[in-house]
């Protein structure tokens, strides 16, 4: 293994120009998997990442606030335009994979069928994607987790008593210590996140990585991207240092995730003849239900998510009312208690019950119904991106339905009281009281705590350039050498955590890109064949 080539933005004392075969913006699920495949095919890959390369094994403070500040975009609370929803995205090498809770689901078949029927995507049937899911599941050691902590076991108990469909969650871990601090970056290096797997592998195959550099724009010439232009950032990742970085390559892959991939294309003036960029951005909005259990739950320890309830995801048909899946949210004090907007004595009384807290989360799928158009990415004056996502009746219906289902499940699991994470909601002592209380609850922002760890869409894929930004291989419809390999290409939300869907689609599309380049480059083709053996 030769020395890995890493350039750190805030230490650059002069402008930097790198040349290679493929430039990739972003090191998350899409960018890193693509980098690994392309580098292993013998291509010189250039990666640029806005965050830092933070080795969470070397610095396991396991304190929430400094880690949110350093590993997440906007401290984990990137607000939508009206402030109603906090969007959680990683901003570190490995992107959101570094800080996610490891839940790794295949794209649900109803979602893929909907894409075929409504969005004309016929190349992504479950059987088409199966080999790619298998490849990633092997690469990242994705297996169902069989030893749930009590937080998750209570979810399973409630579901079993109600006869609701539930199952173990597959997780991308190897020798997991079951600590429960996934959201702060794994302190053991057990999570098979991109910073631990695909990024180092790409670096060992000759890729170069530039950290702490924000991709500002793509330089265009006719129908080609000629370079990625970035600005080096200071140690906070906030202010430009004045140094600039150019990545020049005949192929450019954008993998800066939903919101920020479309924003990069918008800032760059990439052709958008049908005004689609940044539109149809989905959040799979998350809402929360808190319960106090007689048991000592200790929700801050153990694999955060290992059981899910699939009873309501498609309950009213794919294009019907907002469906949702349900999991638990097990986390440390700040994340757990930030869901409770109490004051004074009531805040103190609640906080003191933290070891008995059982928190459920629903992820309400969007984008499948005509009344669910999602949000739109806007650019601020300084070029940064903000998502305008107006919450409508379709969303609120999903919020109320999922509040009801979560409360019913928590009482079935033995809860003493249930408290929807809504500042105007009361404490319910039993299911009948909760049913009428939640039924009458006034749902409005910002009283209802809403966030999203699953921003998706905004560079939708499809075969028709009038309704999509990229084709089903992620290739831009108007630009000849530009591709988008990340969660922004999904035409709807998914109904599950998106990480495995992004890995698998990026693996498929990056492999196709490698083949395409190899067809013109005999040296690459040989390398590619060698690596595939």
């Amino acid at each position: 293994m030769s020395t890995r080539e890493i350039h750190v933005g805030h230490t650059l004392d002069r402008d930097l120009m790198l040349e290679g075969d493929v430039a990739i913006v972003g090191t998350g699920a899409g960018g890193a998997i693509s980098a690994e495949i392309l580098a292993r095919a013998g291509l010189r890959v250039l990666l640029v990442e806005e965050g830092a390369y933070h080795d969470t094994r070397q610095d396991p403070t396991l304190r929430e606030v400094p880690m949110f500040a350093r590993l997440y975009r906007e401290g984990g609370v990137q607000p939508t335009k009206d402030g109603a929803i906090a969007i959680v995205q990683g901003r570190t090498v490995g992107g959101s994979t570094t800080v996610n809770w490891t839940s790794s689901f295949r794209t649900p078949a109803p979602t893929l069928r909907h894409w075929r029927d409504v969005h004309g995507i016929d190349a992504l049937a479950p059987e088409d994607l199966a080999p790619w899911f298998e490849r990633i599941e092997q690469r990242l050691h994705i297996e169902p987790w069989q030893s749930p902590n009590l937080n998750n076991a209570l979810l399973a108990r409630g579901a079993a008593r109600l006869g609701w469909a539930h199952a173990a969650i597959p997780r991308n871990v190897r020798d997991c210590g079951n600590l429960g601090y996934c959201g702060l970056g794994c302190p053991l290096g057990a999570k098979q996140s991109m910073d631990r797997t695909a990024v180092p592998d790409a670096l060992d195959h000759g890729a170069a990585l530039v950290t702490r550099v924000r991709a500002e724009r793509l330089q265009l010439s006719g129908d080609r991207v000629t370079a990625v232009e970035g600005v080096a950032l200071d140690e906070y990742g906030v202010r430009a240092t004045g140094k600039r970085v150019w990545l020049r390559a005949p192929w450019v892959v954008v993998a800066a995730a939903a919101i920020h991939s479309p924003a990069l294309l918008m800032r760059s003036g990439v052709p958008d003849p049908h005004a689609l960029l940044g539109k149809r951005t989905f959040l799979q909005i998350h809402n929360y239900s808190l319960a106090l259990m007689p048991d000592l739950v200790d929700p801050f320890y153990g694999a955060p998510q290992s059981v899910y309830i699939d009873q309501f995801t498609w309950r009213d048909g794919v294009t019907g009312r907002a469906g949702f899946n349900m999991e638990v949210a097990g986390a440390q004090p700040v994340v757990s208690l930030n869901l409770w907007k109490g004051l004074g004595t009531e805040m103190a009384e609640f906080a003191r019950r933290l070891p008995h807290l059982h928190t459920m989360v629903s992820q309400i799928r969007d984008g499948f119904h005509p009344d669910s158009p999602g949000g739109e990415v806007h650019l601020r004056k300084d070029g940064s991106a903000v998502l305008d996502y107006p919450i409508n009746e379709y969303n609120w219906d999903g919020v109320r339905s999922s509040y009801l289902a979560m409360a019913e499940c928590q009482f079935a699991a033995g809860a003493e009281s249930v408290h929807p994470a809504c500042s105007s909601a009361g404490a319910y002592r039993g299911w009948p009281e909760a049913r009428s209380g939640i039924g009458a609850l006034r749902l409005r922002s910002p009283d209802v705590f809403l966030n999203s760890t699953h921003p998706l869409g905004g560079c939708a894929m499809g075969s028709d350039p009038r309704t999509s930004v990229v084709d089903t291989y992620g290739r831009h419809h108007q630009m000849a050498n530009l591709a988008v390999f990340d969660g922004s290409v999904f035409p709807t939300s998914l109904g599950v955590n998106p990480s495995l869907s992004i890995y698998a689609l990026a693996a498929r599309n990056a492999s196709a890109l490698a083949e395409r380049i190899a067809a013109r480059r005999p040296d690459v083709q040989q390398e590619s064949r060698h690596e595939q053996q």
């Binding site: 906070y236 990742g237 906030v238 320890y301 004090p333 103190a348 009283d447």
Partner: protein, 185 residues
Amino acid sequence: MLLSRRGLLQAGLLGSAAVWAGGLLGCVARRDSPSPGATQRAALSPPAEEILRAVIPVVLGPLLAATDPAREQALDAGLASLDDYLAHLSLPLQQEARNVFDTLDLLPLRVLLLGTRQHWHEAPPETIEAFLRSARDSRFSLLRRSYVFLQSMAVLAWFDQPSAWHEIGYPGPPLGPYAGSGRHA
């Protein structure tokens, strides 16, 4: 009367103040230079620090007894942690946060929201609690947003402090410099 005149005034003034705060505050007396003995902050402005020092003990109630010197140290540590957190936000978000604090610190706003000409650090806790409760339950989303913002700042500042953990039954992380005695798996 559902819609009180004072409520309308509060929302209207807070709204226009929020919009104009940036420009307006350039013209009025600003406390740009920290008072003697104050800590130099990366992101927290003097009004922000003053308001948070007044609000956090009210949000946390019995969890933070203001007279206890150890708790005072924890509050200092919490504000330092919060300052570091805010300093990692993008400039538009840092500016937005600063505008909220600057607006809440304007004299006409203090008179309307707290019902007093006193500065935040002079206002009694009951006055601040009454303001927070009315903001939480206000019909105006801007006031409710102010409540959620201030409450969240308190949560961020406080519950990550090791000295806060015993009171809430969190034994601390299983490893690293802040490892607790632990009952983890």
